[in-house]
């Protein structure tokens, strides 16, 4: 009987129920889109911010100590011993840490001062050996491609990026705009570089970075190792990693991981905080100290938190509007059906039974609208993804129970004024007008 009454009421009020479903669909669609974007925005914003550089620098412990003392985390000087360098052959291990997939890109550097001679002038300039677009297989068997091409994607390059190549062919290089100007060279020209050893390089491109790199020459890592006599060594590694915004636990861990309880330590280690990724890097690279570039890491966290807060506020606002609209519609429905409700009460229905009938009607309609809104929301999410981030938004199954829960809550909250009205409705008043 309950279902007959329910079905009858739903069909009879098709128009009003369609309005409730539509209202809920609108609320649920915004909610679905925002939640999916919110859960994915971390990765998306991180990806966007990755294009502005590394957020971790890995340096040898000795160099780090000097850097800490003198406020310079730059490369170890040439005269330092082997312990002031990292081993190049250990770098693939970066892709074996717990958060390996969050290591987006990295590039090693070996800096040496050399005499660089262009068409006329010869200038002492910093020469940095690096990976431009290196491909290798990690110890886990994964094929990895990384280097400056990705890490310094915002550089304005005239010409082309240099190739990593090998000793057998002519090596290419990138020359900073300031240095190129001093040397009087352009892409396609050749420069000779002399340190402990010397060789000629063809200039693949001249870049403008807006920073101190504009005074440097970037050559393949093997070349810098060869001319400096530091075979198989690098002086630092820049790492770009996808991270989770820091919280109190992460800050405590960054100060001293040993201060954490076992449970806290597990939580911290298994969360992609920049400090836990740094810790894991230090675990796999010998003699290394991984230091977060705090201004980048904290900016990422702040942007992410603000973006997520905005999404939550939008979701809350849309659901509040939906709740208000549903409240009006259900209240109007109860007022319209006051005689019917009065009759049901007169024949013996309790307030609970009548409320259950109205709430069930509203809930079924809202859930239908919510389901419709969910699928519409998936479309909105993809639209936002492609418009704002230029890529698809990953659909999270977790959003389904969340949207269902929020739909039920909104429908219940929207029904409350109507239920209050219904409880105060006296059969005698609606059936006899008194």
């Amino acid at each position: 009987m309950f279902f007959r009454m329910l079905t009858g009421a739903l069909l009879r009020q098709r128009g009003r129920m369609a309005m409730i479903a539509l209202t809920m669909a609108l609320g649920a669609s915004i909610c679905t889109a925002m939640l999916n974007v919110m859960f994915d925005v971390g990765d998306k914003v991180n990806q966007e911010l990755k294009s502005y550089g590394a957020n971790l620098t890995v340096v040898p412990r000795g160099a780090s100590f000097l850097g800490d003392l003198y406020g310079d985390a730059g490369p170890a000087d040439e005269s330092a011993g082997q312990d002031k360098y990292l081993a190049e052959d250990e770098l693939p291990k970066l892709k074996t840490i717990f958060w390996a997939f969050n290591i987006v890109d990295f590039a090693p550097y070996l800096q040496t001062d050399a005499l660089v001679k262009g068409s006329g002038n010869a200038i002492d300039a910093p020469v940095l050996g690096t990976w431009f677009d290196k491909r290798f297989d990690s110890p886990t068997g994964e094929s990895v491609q990384t280097g400056m091409v990705r890490l310094k994607s915002w550089w304005d390059v005239d010409g082309a990026w240099a190739q990593d190549g090998g000793p057998e062919g002519e090596a290419s290089c990138m020359v900073g705009a300031n240095l190129a100007s001093k040397l009087g060279v352009r892409p396609g020209d050749r420069v000779s570089v002399t340190a402990k050893g010397g060789a000629r390089l063809v200039i693949a491109g001249v870049f403008h970075s807006g920073g101190s790199e504009d005074d440097c020459l970037f050559a393949p890592l093997w070349f810098a190792q060869e001319i400096s006599g530091r075979q198989g060594l690098v002086s630092r590694v820049e790492v770009s990693a996808l991270t989770t915004p820091e919280n109190e636990l992460a800050r405590r861990a960054a100060r001293d991981p040993n201060s954490l309880s076992r449970h806290e330590w597990d939580t911290w280690y298994c969360t992609a905080y920049i400090s836990s990724i740094a810790y894991q890097i230090e675990e796999v690279i010998s003699n290394a100290r991984a230091k977060p570039v705090l201004q980048v890491a904290e900016s990422e966290g702040a942007i992410l938190q603000k973006t997520q807060l905005l999404m939550i506020l939008l979701t809350a606002l849309s659901l509040s509007c939906a709740s208000l609209a549903i409240s009006n519609l259900v209240t109007a429905s109860v007022m319209e059906r006051s005689a019917e409700i009065g009759l049901i009460k007169a024949v013996g229905a309790t307030s609970f039974e009548v409320s259950a009938l109205i709430i069930t009607e509203t809930m079924i309609t809202a859930l239908l609208g919510g389901a419709l809104g969910y699928f519409a929301g998936l479309g909105f999410a993809q639209l936002i993804g492609h418009t704002v981030f230029g890529s698809a938004i990953e659909i999270r199954p977790l959003v389904i129970p969340l949207v269902t829960l929020l739909t039920v809550t909104v429908a219940l909250a929207g029904s409350l004024p109507a239920i209050r009205l219904l409880l105060s409705l006296r059969p005698a008043e609606v059936l006899h007008g008194r």
Binding site: M1, V347, G348
Partner: protein
């Protein structure tokens, strides 16, 4: 005759309006009582109090010996559900349910539905062949008969009818009165609130209300009844 209902010194006040003023009366088991009076005389208020749809401002109402004026709203609902069958002038059938389903609504909120039983109730009022019709497909008389079937379905101790023929033509009025007469002959206790002397004429006793007080009580006598009905009609018709 055992009294099924007793009103003792019952008053009802709405703000400045005294709808009922110190009314006392009783209704015996199996009795058919008519309540008449002009508009504003307190008929509907009395019906609401007897039907457990309102509580008096003062006084006692005893139904089957149970004091109603002290019961909570939920307890009054239970009494209404278990002991009272309500018949309305406007029928108040649920528009999206068939005649049969409208009868079953009362079963559902009483205990459990039984389609066969509901169909029998419709048979008793001569509406079995229209059981699957919606109220909009029924005439006024048929709707009132469905309303009566709904009132009867839970075997109430008291049938309370508010202007049961008020919206019917003469032919349907006769049909409804025949049904009520049949119920009365079967031992049902009936209270009818009416303006219609023809309906009051059928009752064992008629209580006449005026300004919230009992102005007159007329018992049915074979010879006097017609006269009383005409008197009612002439002197108190509204």
């Amino acid at each position: 005759m055992v009294n099924i209902l007793e009103l003792i010194d019952v008053s009802m006040v709405y703000g400045q309006v005294r709808a009922l003023s110190n009314v006392s009366m009783s209704v015996g088991q199996g009795e058919w009582l008519a309540i008449m009076g002009p508009s504003g005389s307190g008929k509907t208020t009395m019906m609401n109090i007897i039907g457990c749809m309102g509580k008096p401002t003062s006084g006692s109402v005893l139904l089957d010996g149970e004091e109603l004026s002290k019961l909570s709203s939920a307890e009054l609902t239970a009494i209404r559900r278990d002991k009272i069958g309500l018949i309305f002038q406007q029928f108040h059938l649920i528009s999206y349910l068939t005649a049969l389903e409208n009868v079953m609504v009362a079963q559902y909120y009483h205990s459990m539905t039984d389609e066969g039983e509901a169909l029998k109730a419709l048979e008793r009022v001569g509406l079995a062949d229209r059981a699957k019709h919606l109220p909009s497909q029924l005439s006024g008389g048929e709707q009132q008969r469905a309303c009566i079937a709904r009132a009867l379905i839970n075997y109430p101790r008291l049938i309370l009818a508010d202007e049961p023929t008020g919206n019917l033509d003469e032919a349907n009025e006769r049909v409804v009165l025949d049904i009520l007469r049949g119920l009365h002959e079967g031992g049902a206790t009936i209270i009818v609130v009416t303006h219609d002397p023809e309906v009051a004429y059928e009752a064992d006793r008629t209580v006449y209300l005026e300004h919230g007080r009992i102005a007159d009580v007329v018992k049915k006598a074979p010879e006097a009844s017609v006269v009383r009905a005409e008197e009612f009609s002439l002197s108190h018709d509204c």
